[in-house]
Amino acid sequence: MPATYESIATQTLAVGASSITFSSIPATYTDLRLVFVCTNVSGGDQAKVTFNGVTGTSYSQTYMYSDGSIADSGSSANQPEVNIALGGTSTTIPTFYTVDVFSYAGSTNKTLLVTCNEDKNGSGLVSRAVGLFSNTAAITSVTIAKSGGTYAVGTTATLYGIKNA
Protein backbone atom coordinates (compact mmCIF):
# COMPACT_ATOMS: atom_id res chain seq x y z
CA MET A 1 0.00 0.00 0.00
CA PRO A 2 1.51 3.37 -0.93
CA ALA A 3 2.25 5.97 1.70
CA THR A 4 -0.59 8.49 1.58
CA TYR A 5 0.02 10.66 4.64
CA GLU A 6 3.50 12.11 4.80
CA SER A 7 5.29 14.78 6.74
CA ILE A 8 6.48 17.43 4.28
CA ALA A 9 8.25 19.55 6.89
CA THR A 10 8.16 20.40 10.57
CA GLN A 11 9.42 23.43 12.45
CA THR A 12 9.96 23.77 16.19
CA LEU A 13 10.89 27.22 17.39
CA ALA A 14 14.26 27.43 19.15
CA VAL A 15 13.71 31.15 19.64
CA GLY A 16 10.51 33.15 19.68
CA ALA A 17 9.14 34.14 16.29
CA SER A 18 6.21 36.15 15.01
CA SER A 19 5.52 33.76 12.14
CA ILE A 20 6.33 30.38 10.65
CA THR A 21 6.45 29.78 6.90
CA PHE A 22 6.52 26.62 4.86
CA SER A 23 7.71 27.36 1.34
CA SER A 24 8.41 25.35 -1.81
CA ILE A 25 5.54 22.99 -1.03
CA PRO A 26 5.65 20.20 -3.61
CA ALA A 27 2.61 19.71 -5.83
CA THR A 28 2.75 15.94 -5.46
CA TYR A 29 -0.07 15.55 -2.96
CA THR A 30 -3.82 15.99 -3.11
CA ASP A 31 -4.48 17.74 0.20
CA LEU A 32 -2.47 19.43 2.92
CA ARG A 33 -2.85 19.29 6.68
CA LEU A 34 -1.19 21.80 8.97
CA VAL A 35 -0.89 20.80 12.65
CA PHE A 36 0.08 23.72 14.87
CA VAL A 37 0.71 23.58 18.64
CA CYS A 38 1.76 26.87 20.16
CA THR A 39 2.27 29.01 23.20
CA ASN A 40 2.77 32.77 23.25
CA VAL A 41 5.60 34.87 24.60
CA SER A 42 3.35 37.88 24.63
CA GLY A 43 1.27 40.04 22.41
CA GLY A 44 -1.85 39.66 20.31
CA ASP A 45 -3.93 36.56 20.46
CA GLN A 46 -5.01 35.99 16.91
CA ALA A 47 -3.23 33.30 14.93
CA LYS A 48 -3.77 33.68 11.23
CA VAL A 49 -2.89 31.80 8.07
CA THR A 50 -2.13 33.08 4.59
CA PHE A 51 -1.06 31.29 1.41
CA ASN A 52 1.47 32.23 -1.26
CA GLY A 53 2.02 35.57 0.47
CA VAL A 54 -1.41 36.71 -0.66
CA THR A 55 -3.31 39.08 1.61
CA GLY A 56 -5.78 41.59 0.16
CA THR A 57 -9.37 40.34 0.33
CA SER A 58 -8.91 36.74 -0.73
CA TYR A 59 -10.12 34.94 2.40
CA SER A 60 -13.50 34.17 3.89
CA GLN A 61 -14.70 31.87 6.64
CA THR A 62 -17.80 30.63 8.45
CA TYR A 63 -17.33 29.39 11.98
CA MET A 64 -19.04 28.09 15.09
CA TYR A 65 -17.53 28.32 18.53
CA SER A 66 -18.00 27.80 22.24
CA ASP A 67 -16.26 29.56 25.11
CA GLY A 68 -17.71 27.35 27.83
CA SER A 69 -20.77 29.53 28.39
CA ILE A 70 -21.81 30.82 24.96
CA ALA A 71 -22.15 28.93 21.71
CA ASP A 72 -22.46 30.95 18.55
CA SER A 73 -21.58 31.11 14.89
CA GLY A 74 -20.47 33.80 12.52
CA SER A 75 -18.76 34.56 9.28
CA SER A 76 -16.39 37.02 7.68
CA ALA A 77 -15.69 37.76 4.03
CA ASN A 78 -13.04 39.56 2.00
CA GLN A 79 -10.44 39.23 4.72
CA PRO A 80 -6.63 39.48 4.39
CA GLU A 81 -6.15 36.14 6.18
CA VAL A 82 -7.93 33.26 7.89
CA ASN A 83 -8.06 33.59 11.65
CA ILE A 84 -7.48 30.17 13.13
CA ALA A 85 -7.54 31.24 16.80
CA LEU A 86 -10.81 32.85 17.67
CA GLY A 87 -9.91 32.97 21.36
CA GLY A 88 -6.47 33.58 22.74
CA THR A 89 -3.40 31.44 23.05
CA SER A 90 -1.68 31.14 26.42
CA THR A 91 1.87 31.81 27.58
CA THR A 92 1.95 28.48 29.41
CA ILE A 93 -0.71 26.10 28.12
CA PRO A 94 -0.28 24.94 24.53
CA THR A 95 -3.18 25.30 22.19
CA PHE A 96 -3.75 23.19 19.16
CA TYR A 97 -4.99 23.98 15.67
CA THR A 98 -5.39 22.07 12.45
CA VAL A 99 -5.91 23.48 8.98
CA ASP A 100 -6.88 21.13 6.16
CA VAL A 101 -6.45 22.48 2.64
CA PHE A 102 -8.24 20.52 -0.05
CA SER A 103 -7.00 20.23 -3.65
CA TYR A 104 -4.26 22.75 -2.88
CA ALA A 105 -2.40 22.14 -6.15
CA GLY A 106 -5.43 22.60 -8.38
CA SER A 107 -6.58 25.60 -10.35
CA THR A 108 -9.79 26.30 -8.47
CA ASN A 109 -10.37 28.29 -5.29
CA LYS A 110 -9.16 26.44 -2.19
CA THR A 111 -11.48 25.13 0.52
CA LEU A 112 -10.25 24.96 4.12
CA LEU A 113 -11.33 23.20 7.29
CA VAL A 114 -10.02 24.71 10.53
CA THR A 115 -10.14 23.35 14.07
CA CYS A 116 -9.20 25.40 17.12
CA ASN A 117 -8.73 23.71 20.50
CA GLU A 118 -7.85 26.06 23.34
CA ASP A 119 -9.00 24.57 26.63
CA LYS A 120 -7.09 26.09 29.57
CA ASN A 121 -8.68 24.34 32.55
CA GLY A 122 -11.28 26.94 33.39
CA SER A 123 -11.19 29.15 30.34
CA GLY A 124 -10.63 28.78 26.64
CA LEU A 125 -12.49 28.15 23.45
CA VAL A 126 -13.26 25.49 20.88
CA SER A 127 -14.23 26.24 17.29
CA ARG A 128 -14.67 24.67 13.90
CA ALA A 129 -14.62 26.68 10.70
CA VAL A 130 -14.79 26.31 6.98
CA GLY A 131 -12.79 28.74 4.92
CA LEU A 132 -12.14 29.71 1.36
CA PHE A 133 -8.99 31.03 -0.25
CA SER A 134 -10.32 32.70 -3.38
CA ASN A 135 -7.30 32.17 -5.52
CA THR A 136 -6.79 29.72 -8.36
CA ALA A 137 -3.02 29.40 -8.16
CA ALA A 138 -1.50 26.26 -6.69
CA ILE A 139 -0.48 26.76 -3.08
CA THR A 140 3.28 26.69 -2.72
CA SER A 141 3.71 28.40 0.65
CA VAL A 142 1.84 28.67 3.95
CA THR A 143 2.49 31.26 6.65
CA ILE A 144 1.17 31.16 10.20
CA ALA A 145 1.47 34.59 11.78
CA LYS A 146 0.22 36.44 14.85
CA SER A 147 -1.71 39.64 15.21
CA GLY A 148 1.10 40.82 17.50
CA GLY A 149 3.93 39.53 19.64
CA THR A 150 5.72 36.24 19.21
CA TYR A 151 5.20 32.52 19.51
CA ALA A 152 7.23 30.94 22.28
CA VAL A 153 10.12 28.51 22.11
CA GLY A 154 8.80 24.99 21.60
CA THR A 155 5.94 26.03 19.36
CA THR A 156 5.66 23.38 16.67
CA ALA A 157 4.14 23.43 13.20
CA THR A 158 4.04 20.41 10.92
CA LEU A 159 2.83 20.32 7.35
CA TYR A 160 1.57 16.97 6.08
CA GLY A 161 0.79 15.95 2.52
CA ILE A 162 -2.07 13.56 1.80
CA LYS A 163 -2.38 11.63 -1.44
CA ASN A 164 -5.63 10.24 -2.73
CA ALA A 165 -3.81 7.54 -4.64
Binding site: A3, T4, Y5, E6, S7, I8, T10, V35, V37, M64, Y65, S66, D67, G68, S69, I70, A71, D72, S73, T92, I93, P94, T95, F96, T98, T115, C116, N117, E118, D119, K120, N121, G122, G124, L125, V126, S127, R128, T156, T158, Y160
Partner: protein, 172 residues
Protein backbone atom coordinates in the same frame (compact mmCIF):
# COMPACT_ATOMS: atom_id res chain seq x y z
CA UNK B 1 9.50 10.01 2.43
CA UNK B 2 8.16 7.55 5.05
CA UNK B 3 4.51 6.91 5.70
CA UNK B 4 3.73 8.76 8.92
CA UNK B 5 0.19 7.62 9.75
CA UNK B 6 0.43 4.11 11.17
CA UNK B 7 -2.01 1.83 12.94
CA UNK B 8 -0.69 1.09 16.43
CA UNK B 9 -3.51 -1.14 17.67
CA UNK B 10 -7.19 -1.86 17.19
CA UNK B 11 -9.98 -3.53 19.08
CA UNK B 12 -13.26 -4.60 17.47
CA UNK B 13 -15.48 -6.09 20.14
CA UNK B 14 -16.87 -9.57 19.59
CA UNK B 15 -18.63 -9.35 22.96
CA UNK B 16 -19.56 -6.58 25.35
CA UNK B 17 -16.78 -5.06 27.39
CA UNK B 18 -16.76 -2.63 30.29
CA UNK B 19 -13.69 -0.88 29.01
CA UNK B 20 -11.14 -0.85 26.25
CA UNK B 21 -7.54 -0.03 27.04
CA UNK B 22 -4.65 0.78 24.78
CA UNK B 23 -1.52 0.11 26.79
CA UNK B 24 2.20 0.15 26.08
CA UNK B 25 1.70 2.88 23.51
CA UNK B 26 5.10 3.18 21.82
CA UNK B 27 7.07 6.39 22.05
CA UNK B 28 8.04 6.38 18.40
CA UNK B 29 5.43 8.84 17.17
CA UNK B 30 4.68 12.53 17.54
CA UNK B 31 0.89 12.57 17.67
CA UNK B 32 -1.89 10.07 18.33
CA UNK B 33 -5.21 9.69 16.54
CA UNK B 34 -7.95 7.59 18.09
CA UNK B 35 -10.91 6.75 15.87
CA UNK B 36 -13.97 5.11 17.34
CA UNK B 37 -17.28 3.70 16.15
CA UNK B 38 -19.05 2.67 19.33
CA UNK B 39 -22.32 2.05 21.10
CA UNK B 40 -22.90 1.61 24.81
CA UNK B 41 -25.56 -0.26 26.76
CA UNK B 42 -26.97 2.91 28.31
CA UNK B 43 -30.79 2.91 28.11
CA UNK B 44 -30.86 6.16 26.18
CA UNK B 45 -30.24 7.31 22.64
CA UNK B 46 -26.82 8.63 23.47
CA UNK B 47 -23.94 8.18 25.84
CA UNK B 48 -20.45 9.64 26.06
CA UNK B 49 -16.92 8.30 26.05
CA UNK B 50 -14.67 9.00 28.97
CA UNK B 51 -10.92 8.51 28.79
CA UNK B 52 -8.41 8.06 31.56
CA UNK B 53 -4.76 8.48 30.65
CA UNK B 54 -1.94 6.48 32.27
CA UNK B 55 -4.39 5.37 35.02
CA UNK B 56 -4.14 8.94 36.31
CA UNK B 57 -7.25 9.70 38.40
CA UNK B 58 -6.03 13.09 39.60
CA UNK B 59 -7.74 16.36 38.64
CA UNK B 60 -5.64 16.79 35.53
CA UNK B 61 -8.35 16.85 32.88
CA UNK B 62 -10.46 19.65 31.47
CA UNK B 63 -12.71 20.32 28.51
CA UNK B 64 -14.54 23.00 26.54
CA UNK B 65 -17.52 21.72 24.55
CA UNK B 66 -19.50 22.90 21.55
CA UNK B 67 -22.65 20.89 20.93
CA UNK B 68 -25.44 21.04 18.35
CA UNK B 69 -28.64 18.98 18.18
CA UNK B 70 -30.17 20.12 14.92
CA UNK B 71 -32.18 22.94 16.43
CA UNK B 72 -29.92 24.67 18.89
CA UNK B 73 -26.32 24.89 20.00
CA UNK B 74 -24.87 24.82 23.48
CA UNK B 75 -21.62 25.43 25.28
CA UNK B 76 -20.19 23.94 28.44
CA UNK B 77 -16.97 23.46 30.33
CA UNK B 78 -15.45 21.13 32.90
CA UNK B 79 -12.32 21.92 34.89
CA UNK B 80 -10.00 19.83 37.06
CA UNK B 81 -11.80 16.57 36.33
CA UNK B 82 -10.51 13.02 36.65
CA UNK B 83 -11.15 12.01 33.02
CA UNK B 84 -11.85 13.45 29.59
CA UNK B 85 -15.63 13.27 29.29
CA UNK B 86 -18.64 14.08 27.10
CA UNK B 87 -17.45 12.72 23.77
CA UNK B 88 -20.89 11.88 22.42
CA UNK B 89 -21.70 8.46 20.90
CA UNK B 90 -24.78 6.18 20.58
CA UNK B 91 -26.64 4.60 23.48
CA UNK B 92 -28.65 1.42 23.35
CA UNK B 93 -32.08 2.89 22.53
CA UNK B 94 -30.80 4.57 19.40
CA UNK B 95 -31.72 2.96 16.09
CA UNK B 96 -30.46 -0.61 15.87
CA UNK B 97 -27.12 -1.16 14.22
CA UNK B 98 -26.07 2.47 14.51
CA UNK B 99 -22.88 3.51 16.20
CA UNK B 100 -21.53 6.85 17.30
CA UNK B 101 -18.43 7.90 15.44
CA UNK B 102 -15.67 10.19 16.50
CA UNK B 103 -12.02 11.08 16.29
CA UNK B 104 -9.59 12.24 18.93
CA UNK B 105 -6.35 13.98 17.94
CA UNK B 106 -3.65 14.22 20.60
CA UNK B 107 -0.54 16.13 19.49
CA UNK B 108 2.75 15.88 21.38
CA UNK B 109 1.61 12.91 23.45
CA UNK B 110 5.20 12.33 24.62
CA UNK B 111 5.39 15.74 26.23
CA UNK B 112 5.61 15.86 30.02
CA UNK B 113 3.73 19.13 30.35
CA UNK B 114 0.19 20.16 29.48
CA UNK B 115 -1.18 18.54 26.34
CA UNK B 116 -4.15 19.76 24.33
CA UNK B 117 -6.38 17.48 22.30
CA UNK B 118 -9.52 17.54 20.20
CA UNK B 119 -12.59 15.39 19.67
CA UNK B 120 -15.20 15.60 16.95
CA UNK B 121 -18.06 13.15 16.95
CA UNK B 122 -21.73 12.44 16.35
CA UNK B 123 -24.50 10.05 17.39
CA UNK B 124 -26.86 10.46 14.42
CA UNK B 125 -29.45 7.64 14.16
CA UNK B 126 -32.14 8.99 11.82
CA UNK B 127 -34.71 8.91 14.61
CA UNK B 128 -34.13 10.58 17.94
CA UNK B 129 -32.45 13.89 18.61
CA UNK B 130 -28.82 13.52 17.71
CA UNK B 131 -25.81 15.51 18.76
CA UNK B 132 -22.71 16.71 17.03
CA UNK B 133 -19.97 17.67 19.41
CA UNK B 134 -16.62 19.42 19.07
CA UNK B 135 -14.50 19.22 22.21
CA UNK B 136 -11.26 20.88 23.17
CA UNK B 137 -9.43 18.91 25.86
CA UNK B 138 -6.42 19.51 28.06
CA UNK B 139 -4.44 16.96 30.05
CA UNK B 140 -2.07 18.34 32.70
CA UNK B 141 -0.35 15.13 33.75
CA UNK B 142 3.43 15.11 33.83
CA UNK B 143 4.26 11.84 32.12
CA UNK B 144 4.26 10.85 28.49
CA UNK B 145 1.05 9.12 27.47
CA UNK B 146 1.56 5.36 27.48
CA UNK B 147 -1.99 4.13 28.03
CA UNK B 148 -5.59 5.18 27.56
CA UNK B 149 -8.66 3.51 29.02
CA UNK B 150 -12.04 4.16 27.37
CA UNK B 151 -15.23 3.57 29.31
CA UNK B 152 -18.88 4.56 28.81
CA UNK B 153 -19.69 7.63 30.85
CA UNK B 154 -23.21 6.53 31.78
CA UNK B 155 -23.57 2.98 30.52
CA UNK B 156 -21.86 -0.10 31.88
CA UNK B 157 -20.49 -1.73 28.74
CA UNK B 158 -19.42 -1.14 25.19
CA UNK B 159 -21.60 -3.27 22.94
CA UNK B 160 -20.54 -5.89 20.43
CA UNK B 161 -19.37 -4.39 17.15
CA UNK B 162 -17.86 -1.32 18.75
CA UNK B 163 -14.50 -0.57 17.20
CA UNK B 164 -11.48 1.36 18.40
CA UNK B 165 -8.44 2.22 16.29
CA UNK B 166 -5.31 3.94 17.57
CA UNK B 167 -2.91 5.48 15.06
CA UNK B 168 0.50 7.08 15.48
CA UNK B 169 1.66 10.02 13.39
CA UNK B 170 5.27 11.06 12.94
CA UNK B 171 6.21 14.57 11.99
CA UNK B 172 9.47 13.44 10.40
Amino acid sequence: MPNTYTLIASNVLSSSAASVTFSSIPSTYTDLVLRVSVRSDRAATFDNIQIRINSDAASNYSRTLLSGDGSSESSSRGSSESRWEFAVINGNTSTSNTFGNGEYYIPNYLSTSSRPASYFGVNEDNSATAYMRANAYLYRGTAAITSMELTPQNGTNWLTGSSFYLYGIKNS
